[in-house]
């Protein structure tokens, strides 16, 4: 038998069986189990190497086939009582039945999967429209009166973070975080503990790298969230002041 098809071409043992049934034009309701088992086994033998995960699944099916085959070969049970014999015969299912049901069910889903494939193909040719942004709908919808630089930075930090995740996925570069946020938070908190009150900009030294600036911003935001510091602005365009929050 020519084994020119690779096992990977099949989605599993059931798929392989269906292939053999189709190829040999077998009636699925009356499978010549011994012939099919032989073909299935010689198919497995013909493979040079077997992925260990896949192998177990294919071997399990081989065992099932062999068990069905042996049950088919067993002589019918003989009992003394003729009536009992009839009942037993009725009770006794065709050993192939379970497998046939499985194959039919699997085949049904395989065909649905093929329809899904066509639908997927069709959908790849149609497009939705990018949604409209909404704020324009509201009078004075864009209000920055309640917003300060912190807010804007935290909004942007969130966007950067999102972007960084996506970038990381595509470039497959893993960088060890050189400046953990935890350490930066401790550092910022120590500074403000010492000085009690300081200007927002004083947290950022001139020689700070981008990352250090971002981490410092994040640290300040985290400390606000933790209720350790207070950030306020006396007037629009004025200096932003950071103070230690009084613990009552």
């Amino acid at each position: 038998m020519a084994l020119n098809v690779k096992l990977e071409a099949f989605e599993g043992p059931l798929d392989l069986l269906l292939h053999l049934i189709e190829k040999n034009q077998i009636n699925i309701y009356d499978i010549p189990i011994s012939e099919l088992t032989d073909q299935y086994l010689s198919y497995l033998e013909g493979l040079d190497e077997l992925d260990i995960d896949m192998a177990s699944e294919f071997l399990l099916m081989a065992a099932t086939l062999l068990s069905i085959k042996s049950r088919m070969l067993l002589p019918k049970e003989r009992t003394e009582d003729a009536r009992e014999e009839i009942c037993t015969a009725l009770d006794k299912e065709d050993p192939r039945m379970e497998l046939v049901e499985k194959l039919i069910e699997y085949k049904r889903f395989k065909m649905i999967a093929e329809v899904l494939k066509e639908k997927e193909e069709g959908q790849s040719k149609i497009f939705k429209r990018r949604p409209e942004d909404l704020p324009f709908l509201y009078e004075g919808g864009i209000s920055i009166s309640e917003v300060d630089l912190d807010d804007l930075i935290s909004i942007f930090a969130r966007i950067i973070k999102k972007g960084a995740v996506e970038e990381g996925q595509s470039s497959r570069t893993i960088l060890k975080d050189p400046l953990p946020l935890r350490i930066r938070i401790r550092h910022v908190y120590k500074t403000i503990l010492k000085r009690k009150k300081m200007g927002f900009r004083e947290f950022f030294k001139e020689n700070f790298s981008k990352l250090e600036i971002i981490m410092t911003f994040l640290a300040i935001l985290e400390l606000i969230k933790l209720n350790r510091i207070k950030v306020y602005q006396e007037q629009s365009f004025g200096e932003i002041t950071v103070t230690l929050k009084e613990v009552s």
Binding site: Y29, E57, L116, E120, E132
Partner: protein, 171 residues
Amino acid sequence: MDREAAKGILEGILFAAGDSVEFKDLSKVLEISEEELLSLVEEMKQEYNSQNRGIMISRVGERIRLTTKAEVYPYIEKLLKPQNRNQLSKAALETLAIIMFKQPVTKAEIESIRGVNVEKTLNSLMERNLICEVGRLDAPGRPILYGTTQECLEYFGLSSIEELADIKFDE
């Protein structure tokens, strides 16, 4: 509001939304019953069928959306160079087909139908938001139950899963 005006508004809303919009939200905003809404959508479907239209209206689950027609694709491709989505593997499609019809369904059930391990496939379907956990089976080990998402209907452009149930197959 007369039917023609309502259709215009429907078109405008769906255009601005970009995404699909729920029946019930549309009927609320237009102040018409869902039945009336669906009959409007049917009429619109006919109108969009005309050759001088490049967009169409379709139902996905309990939602309605506007999309381009497939015959415009070659032109869109030329001009806008859309990125190709990763197509689903055969394993993913088979697994999805099972979840669609058997949901809520456990991993073990899917594996017994497909005859192979589906762990990795389930993970990638979850990542693509085509399936989700819908609960736990009240059985030993409390296995996770899986179901399909709205996104899944949209992905295949299905008005409902039942649409697939009629597929004829001969042994």
